[in-house]
């Protein structure tokens, strides 16, 4: 039984390969505008991400088939359908969106730091501190939602500045500091939001108090659009706008020019008189603020109530942001799509029939995709190689008839050169 499935998969795979090849060869021979487009980096980036996703999905499907072949068709369908599995699809789409928004913001945080040559693995820590600041704003200041959001950004920024400061002035590697600050941040939040501090802890439910209405993000009519699903909020616009803003800062501004120069060549940046230390700290602050506001955009929807006793490991959001950033080829706009996709598959995994499959299958597939993201550079290089080889082959085919008398040609060449 398995073998027929494998054959099918094989044939699908080889078919796909051939098609991709045909696509390139055609493009090369026609030498049209399309061909030019096919060799641009943007297209290669896009294609390599798509291939990562496809391979990840295929491997995931194989796992599903191996675990329980008779029910696999249904399971595959529900993975692919993602949020559309919900009895009311609008609500399913809503649940994808509400999770994709913080993921996007975390990936923007990663991208921003990465362009300055920093690896912000501290996004989870900045995320939890962002959540803490948002809660404090909501429960103590009784602040309206926008103040809470700004507070969450400030919290994240603070948590980003600390490793930035250590790196700038003491040359301490930001990866090490920020990993430590991840845990410090988590336990700080768990202390504040848990029974130890007891200031926002509901002992009966073992979680935080319910957020006051004024602190909840406004839905701006999304609830009507999504048949009453009330957790998609203004955060959607905020995230998209921030993605565009990040892109503009990186590509159009003097500050972006400076931080990318720093990321590419620290010595040249210094030589050009750029203030490395200042830029580094500002970058970490912005990166942290993005991760912090991600938490605000998640918890201030009321979708999930934070539980200090249950949350004993770092939230996956910050780490998944790394995956979304790389799957989006470190492009702020690309990461909009990559974070939507990752969330889509995760949500789909939640709809699997748990009598046959454990619900972690969805996580497995998304982690496969994430894992394969590490290969996206390799895939990009392979694409370039295939393109070049096709080109060479095509030219060699055209050229062979004239070039056969190779032995005599040698002397001709000699004369020409002397």
């Amino acid at each position: 039984m398995n073998s027929t499935f494998k054959d099918k998969i094989k044939s699908v795979f080889s078919n796909l390969r051939n098609r991709i090849r045909d696509f390139f060869v055609k493009g090369k021979q026609e030498k049209s505008g399309l061909q030019k487009f096919l060799t641009t980096d943007a297209f290669k980036n896009f294609l390599s991400s798509v291939i990562c996703v496809i391979i990840g999905l295929l491997v995931g499907i194989i796992v599903i088939v191996i675990v329980n072949a008779p029910n696999s068709a249904e399971a595959i369908a529900s993975i692919l359908k993602g949020g559309f599995n919900a009895p009311k699809w609008q609500r399913g789409v809503g649940s994808v969106l509400v999770n994709a928004i913080p993921l996007l913001l975390c990936s923007l945080s990663i991208i921003f730091a990465y362009k300055c040559g920093l690896f912000n693995i501290g996004a989870p820590g900045q995320y939890v501190i962002g959540a803490m600041f948002a809660f404090l704003g909501a429960f103590f200041l009784k602040a309206p939602w926008y103040v809470c959001l700004i507070l969450s950004a400030i919290g994240g920024a603070l948590w980003g500045i600390i490793p930035g400061f250590f790196k700038a002035f003491l040359s301490v590697n930001e990866v090490i500091t920020s990993i430590m600050f991840n845990w410090i941040g988590l336990y700080l939040l768990n202390f504040v939001a848990g029974p130890e501090a007891g200031i926002m802890y509901n002992e009966n439910l073992a979680e935080c108090f319910i957020l006051p209405k004024s602190s909840l993000l406004p839905t701006l009519g999304f609830d009507k659009m999504l048949s009453g699903y009330k957790y998609v909020t203004v955060a959607f616009y905020i995230a998209i706008i921030l993605a565009i803003v990040v892109r503009i800062i990186l590509n159009k501004t003097k500050f972006g020019y400076e931080i990318k120069a720093t990321g590419n060549n620290k010595d040249a940046a210094k030589y050009a008189g750029m203030n490395y230390k200042r830029n580094l700290i500002i970058t970490m602050a912005i990166s942290g603020a993005l991760a912090g506001i991600a938490a605000g955009c998640f918890y201030l929807t009321g979708y999930e109530v934070y539980s200090a006793t249950k949350q004993t490991s770092l939230p996956a959001m910050g780490f998944n942001g790394i995956a979304a950033a790389f799957l989006g080829c470190l492009n702020p706009i690309g990461s909009i799509f990559s974070s939507l996709l990752i969330t889509h598959i995760n949500v789909g995994g939640g709809y699997l029939d748990t009598t046959y499959y454990s619900k972690e299958i969805g996580d497995l597939i998304s982690s496969l995709i994430i894992y394969l993201c590490a290969f996206s550079l390799f895939i990009r290089l392979t694409i370039t190689k295939i393109q070049n080889r096709k080109k060479e082959l095509a030219e060699a085919n055209n050229a062979t008839p004239e070039k056969n008398p190779d032995v005599k040609e040698e002397k001709v060449g000699e004369k020409e050169c002397h």
């Binding site: 003097k254 020019y257 590419n264 060549n265 210094k270 008189g273 000699e414 002397h418």
Partner: protein, 512 residues
């Protein structure tokens, strides 16, 4: 049978926007030293990369000992006993010399490295070819000359008999160059065939048997070195007559622009000082040159002067203003331009486009930035102006990624950027390192024209010819001190060499 060990027949290799090699034929005889001469970007490196399997040619083929071979990767090249010493050495800095040589071809027994066996073989080789190295020294501690010998031993250890030297003398001192020339002659005498990429005509005249000249990707011809002259070769290479010495009108220097008072700089390697108590000044309309053998404190001094590193003690005045501790940007605004020693490390952001690199010292000016946003149109216009004016050649103009440009054009871009800042003081550190005669002539003219327009120029150079040719005054630096101030008109190269080697001094404690 063929007389040739390697033949590259009608090689054509194209890159986007440029034909790097256009129908080039190169034939190497056994036991000869064959020079490959050409300007930067003429296609020498591309041709060698084709031979070494890094690129596949679109047309043409390669023959080894008369048989057609296909070289798809450096591994194939190694299997055919073709070895290459790259311009930038490929050594593991923290490994010992021995480990570097055997790396990738380690003699092993049950999976353990047999260092003794390797060492014995290397000793034999080094005696046979006269290559002295210290096998137990760590590579980062040894001189550049010895690093190069390590690279040569690496090739010999792998039984290579076709040796490619990619601009081997660019990083060497005059003494080390002489040494290398001897080694190359030895190797050829022992039956190795050598391909020698260079653009230094003196070296070709002294060691090469034949010479193939490339210009703009085309093969101009192959000549017997004995039958030709330096002038003829340079004309073949550049396509016109080249002036070897620079004409300088007499001018009386004006006011003092740069004043250095008792400057000391701490060393990064040892506890002492890399620069000790240096004082001098540079006036308008003169070129002051700091000469010396590499590693005698010139780099550290220039880093301190330009603000890349800290000054330990002493004072630096630029146009009377104390800039000893001023940030780099402020020095730049006050009229200091700096052509850095290492163009790839400091001079350029290699992954930036040419236009972005051309504004690297200016991007903050209102012409290029408005309320924090870059004014792309102005940047493009400015870049196009500089590219045209300074003849910077590249595949795609202003949007070319600098990494893909040839070394000479990278340097031209830096020179264009720094000179166009219209500085009061131009610091040029080894501005012609690794460049061909055409580019050198060009850059020398630019430097002299700065002097003629009454700018102050501080030149740091390891090339004696350049020092003698360009400067109005020579300061010799030895072990971090200025040991001599010489007038190029009344001094000889030999005398300069004595100062550089520390055998003579006329400034400082032992004033003569």
């Amino acid at each position: 049978m063929s007389d040739y060990v390697i033949e590259m027949i009608n090689i054509t290799k194209k890159f986007p926007g440029i034909v790097a090699n256009d129908n080039i034929t190169l034939q190497l005889k056994k036991g000869e030293i064959h020079a490959l001469l050409g300007e930067n970007g003429a296609g020498k490196s591309t041709l060698m990369s084709v031979l070494f399997g890094l690129y596949q040619p679109e047309e043409g083929y390669i023959k080894k000992d008369g048989k057609k071979v296909i070289i798809n990767s450096p591994n194939d090249a190694t299997a055919l006993h073709i070895g290459m010493v790259h311009q930038h050495f490929k050594l593991v800095e923290i490994f010992t010399v021995l480990d570097n040589i055997i790396l990738g071809a380690e003699p092993t027994k049950y999976g353990f490295i047999e260092r003794k066996k390797g060492a014995e073989r290397i000793k034999k080789l080094s005696e046979q070819y006269g290559l002295s190295v210290d096998l137990n020294a760590v590579v980062e501690d040894i001189t550049v000359g010895m690093q190069q010998r390590v690279e040569i031993l690496k090739m010999l250890y792998r039984d290579n008999d076709i040796l490619i030297f990619d601009e081997p003398t660019a990083v060497l001192t005059p003494q080390e160059i002489d040494e290398l020339m001897k080694i190359m002659k030895n190797l050829a005498a022992e039956g190795k065939s050598i391909l020698f990429i260079t653009h230094k005509l003196n070296e070709i005249m002294s060691v090469a048997d034949r010479c193939t000249v490339l210009r703009k990707g085309k093969c101009i011809g192959t000549v017997n070195v004995a039958d030709t002259t330096k002038e003829e070769l340079s004309e073949m290479m550049v396509g016109r007559k080249v002036e070897f010495s620079v004409q300088k009108p007499e001018i009386t220097p004006g006011e003092v622009v740069l004043e250095v008072k008792n400057v000391s700089v701490a060393s990064k390697i040892h506890k002492g000082e890399a620069v000790k108590n240096v004082s001098f000044n540079v006036r308008q309309g003169e070129i002051v040159c700091i000469a010396g053998i590499d590693g005698n404190g010139q780099t550290e001094f220039i880093h301190a002067l330009s603000g890349l590193d800290k000054v330990k003690s002493g004072e630096i005045l630029l146009k009377g203003k104390n800039i000893t501790h001023a940030p780099i940007r402020e020095r730049s605004k006050d009229g200091m331009s700096h052509i850095p020693e290492d163009r790839q490390k400091h001079g350029l952001v290699l992954d930036y486009s040419l236009e972005d690199n051309l504004v690297l010292q200016k991007y903050w000016e209102p012409e290029f930035v408005n309320k924090g946003f870059l004014r792309r149109k102005n940047i493009r216009k400015y870049a196009e102006k500089l590219i045209e004016q300074y003849d910077v050649r590249s595949g795609q103009g202003p949007i070319t990624i600098c990494r893909s440009m040839s070394g000479g054009n990278q340097q031209k871009a830096i020179v264009a950027r720094e000179i166009d800042k219209n500085p009061d003081l131009l610091i040029a550190v080894q501005p012609t390192r690794g460049l061909d005669v055409g580019a050198i002539e060009y850059i020398h003219k630019q430097i002299v024209s700065q002097r003629n327009s009454m700018k102050a120029v501080l030149l740091v150079s390891l090339e004696l010819d350049e020092v003698m040719d360009l400067s109005d005054r020579i300061l010799v630096m030895y072990e971090g001190e200025i040991v001599g101030e010489l007038d190029p008109k009344t001094t000889t190269v030999q005398e300069l060499g004595l100062y550089m080697a520390g055998a003579k001094r006329n400034v400082g404690e032992n004033h003569e």
